[in-house]
Symmetry: C2
């Protein structure tokens, strides 16, 4: 078992990474001891892992309530969220309760946001079962639901007390979802660590074949990189924006195609190609690195071409992005492989990149 | 103009108290400068003060959007909250925007919670126009909406950047609402400052007649007391619970009679009489102090008798209270006038107090 510590002063917490952890860890049993516990999952992950997680808790909790949400990004809504509140209130859960999120990023976002605002905030544990959630959503404390006008528009920063990443759960993941998770893995290499990007490039076949050691290495390194950025900028004041490499385009793709049609990681894959191309047009990144990054993204089984929309459509879709400042979108660009920065981009370069 | 500073490290903020402040202050103009600003109010307060507040901002903001919510506790719902999100998103407000709450506690709670979760948190200013909001809701950063199963069940701690308490706005307040505000004023004296309770007792006629100096003194002292408690316990870990004196009973009265039938302050008035009686039965408070406190509450124009419900009904209504721990309610009791503490209460004493 590997342990990565996310250092955020009094909100610090560990990420445990390894096989079989869903069946029980001392850390979770200790945290759940004597408390009212809610296991929030969805109708795809629940049947696979809920009973094993529940069995691992044994007699530790004072009470356990199950909440099963409909799966998928399209259900990341207030109505779904309210099911969690209904269940907690019906069971008379007080503010000393513990919410466990069992599932992918959607479940983590929703259960985390529910924990952030239930009685103005209760403790929360993430048990991510997708690669995307293990390498991305489990670090940083971002929680949210969608609004018809934009993704993740309503949310909170709320750090978990513990994250348990069981690498065995990735074996039941559809290949398309595994690829979507690899988008964030590639991103971490691209923005912060050239040697890590080299390793990802080298290990790609092993990663896609769910080779446990390769996965555990990647999850641990990705969590370290993200944890390091988040520790230096918990509330997303500046530096943390680099984690959004590929995301301004990616969010626009998700919004413009209707949430749930492209997976988040797929949209980020194509978005990173656009962002790399934009970086090159701004003179920051060599064209051969754009080509190489595009090849790595393609090798991960991800789309590398964004939808062919007119410039005005892109602008419309991007203008409510949270990184925008009063309507003028900024973009995370690569200065080089392993070094990213947030830049305002001249319209001409943006037009070229979007037309590419 | 009086200024009370609420000290919360990097989230510290000033409360400005005085006549005519709604027409403009340098502090608000500076804060709104160059930003997207939303003025959130309700359909009762808006017609009285919105245009004056807007005029006071002058040309400082980059944009101003008005959001008018239906007035009243019964509308402290997700649906109302969503009107704020709809308006902010339609106007393309980014995370650098500023939300101003203009109105009573309901508007402050809703606009504050909207600011807490819009794009995971934006800045927020309170312009409270009721006595209750000026002495209570404007300090402490508590924001929330109601759930059918309980009051303030969904919310966040989110500190304002600035609070502007214009004492002139209290002149348009219905007498019943002024009395409701006095409940919290009396509470602050009862839990923290015997000399302040003496002053309230002495000034009661002047307070009810809206005498400006008496009001300004009370608002300032109440804000000081609450700010001092909050500064020592921002997230309501322990000490802050004493601010809930009278509130466990009061919330039960509000819930059991249907939100909006009793004003919050009225329920707290009757609830404080119950809590004082309970304190006496536990041997902590002299009976003559219960009588005196009851007389002060009555002199403020507040009810002193709670509904005559069976014990089981009270327990049911109180068991989802946020101060409850796994079903066993605790109560804030007075050890003496000016000194409060949170105590688990034996069932026998509770039965007697509820039957009294």
């Amino acid at each position: 078992m590997r342990t990565i510590d996310v250092s955020l002063a009094e909100r610090s917490y560990p990420i445990l990474i390894g096989p079989g952890l869903i069946d029980g860890t001392e850390a979770l049993t200790r945290l759940a001891g004597g408390r009212q516990v809610a296991i929030v999952t969805d109708d795809q992950v629940g049947p696979l892992y809920r009973d094993r997680l529940r069995a691992g808790l044994g007699a530790a909790p004072a009470a356990v309530v199950d909440v099963t949400l409909p799966a998928g990004e399209a259900n990341k809504t207030w109505d779904s969220l309210n099911r969690v509140f209904d269940a907690l209130l019906r069971a008379r859960f007080d503010r000393g309760c513990l919410v466990i999120a069992l599932g992918g990023g959607v479940v983590g976002d929703m259960a985390g946001f529910a924990a952030a605002v239930y009685q103005r905030g209760v403790d929360f544990v993430q048990v991510p079962t997708t690669l995307l959630a293990q390498v991305d959503s489990s670090v940083g404390g971002k929680t949210a639901i969608n609004h018809p006008e934009g993704k993740n528009m309503i949310g909170a920063f709320h750090q978990p007390r513990l994250v348990i990443a069981d690498t065995d759960t990735l074996r039941t993941l559809p290949p398309r979802e595994l690829s979507a998770g690899l988008a964030e893995v590639i991103k971490h290499g691209a923005i912060a660590d050239p040697a890590y990007l080299d390793a990802i490039e080298r290990d790609m076949a092993a990663l896609r074949a769910c080779e446990p050691q390769a996965l555990a290495r990647a999850i641990a390194r990705s969590c370290e990189i993200k944890a390091d950025v988040v520790a230096r900028d918990e509330r997303e004041g500046g530096l943390r924006a680099i984690l959004n490499f590929g995301h301004t385009f990616g969010h626009a793709i998700e919004a413009g195609t209707g949430y749930g049609n492209w997976l988040h990681g797929e949209a980020v894959g194509a978005g990173m190609v656009q962002a790399a191309d934009l970086s090159c047009r701004l003179g920051n990144l060599a064209r051969e690195q754009v080509t190489r990054l595009t090849a790595i993204i393609a090798a991960a089984g991800l789309p590398v071409r964004a939808p062919a929309w007119p410039y005005e459509r892109w602008i419309e879709l991007m203008s409510v992005d949270k990184k925008a400042e009063q309507g003028a979108p900024r973009f995370v660009v690569l200065e080089a492989i392993g070094r990213a920065a947030l830049r305002k981009v001249p319209e001409a370069a943006l037009r070229q990149a979007l037309a590419a």
